[in-house]
């Protein structure tokens, strides 16, 4: 059963990290739009993307904590 749980946790880590990278790239490309096409995305959305990156980072740590608790 533990093996199944660990597999689930690892899947969650991968998805969480992927979403963090996606949000980072999305924020970078939005900045590029501001420079190249002079289209600025709303400030609140920029903040949301940054918050998402932090949540992604935090969730990876939390999930790692759960995995370690399960293993040790």
């Amino acid at each position: 059963m533990n093996f199944l749980y660990i597999t689930f946790y690892i899947a969650m880590i991968i998805i969480s990290a992927a979403l963090g990278i996606y949000n980072l790239l999305f924020a970078l490309y939005s900045k590029r739009a501001k420079n190249e096409l002079i289209i600025a995305i709303p400030q609140s959305l920029e903040k949301l993307l940054i918050i998402n990156m932090f949540i992604s980072f935090g969730s990876v740590i939390i999930i790692l904590f759960f995995i370690l608790r399960l293993i040790l």
Partner: protein, 213 residues
């Protein structure tokens, strides 16, 4: 097919960019367009959270699994909502005295700019359409402008915009102007080889000296 009276000139000799170009209209799609997908994303997220709670907490009593899946559900939902809003925000139409522009920029996914120079086309039809109860209530509709062939794309669509009737009439006013006969206008080309600057002209009209007005 070129006619004898046509003059071919270098693009460097062309008149300067029209500095009197004025923006007449800037429009985005109506905000109601994004309400449904955002609402649907939130409903799906709540539904998934309830299923996960039932499965992990009530069924197998593994709070850890539930706690670890929650940030992922939140991240997914907020990323989808952010994408929907940014896509809507970066898709707009601009009408100036010289051109109609559609800009559709989806960061990380696609980039599309449709620029129609008004003195190079002749519009043949402007259609205004409003369909559906919600569209009637909120005054949302489409304006479809049909052009002649040089645009390659015969229709220019302003989709789901507010006040389509007003914009349609504004378009009619802007497009209903006297245009010069395109066949009489010079054809501009960009020369790369300075020694062989009027190559195109010479090939078409051997022995003639065109190029300078």
């Amino acid at each position: 097919m070129l006619n004898d009276y046509q003059i071919i000139k270098r693009i460097e000799d062309s008149p300067p960019f029209n500095t009197r170009e004025r923006i007449l209209l800037r429009k985005r799609q109506h905000w109601f367009i994004i309400i449904m997908p955002v609402f649907f994303s939130i409903v799906v997220a709540v539904f998934v959270t309830l299923i996960l709670y039932y499965l992990f907490v009530l069924k197998i009593s593994q709070v850890g699994l539930f706690m670890s899946s929650m940030p992922v559900v939140f991240l997914m939902t907020s990323s989808i909502i952010a994408k929907i809003i940014v896509d809507w925000h970066c898709h707009f139409y601009i009408l100036t005295t010289n051109r109609i522009l559609e800009v559709c920029y989806k960061p990380l996914f696609s980039n599309y700019i449709n620029n129609i120079i008004l003195n190079q086309v002749k519009s043949t039809e402007i259609d205004i359409e409003k369909t559906g109860i919600i569209n009637q209530l909120l005054d949302i509709g489409n304006v479809i402008i049909t052009f002649d062939r040089p645009t390659h794309q015969e229709e220019f669509r302003l989709m789901n915009i507010k006040d389509p009737k007003e914009i349609g009439f504004l378009m009619s006013d802007v497009l209903d102007i006297e245009k010069p006969d395109m066949m009489d206008a010079p054809i501009w080309y960009k020369s790369k080889n300075e020694e062989h600057r009027f190559r195109i002209t010479e090939e078409i009209f051997p022995g003639h000296s065109f190029g300078v007005a």
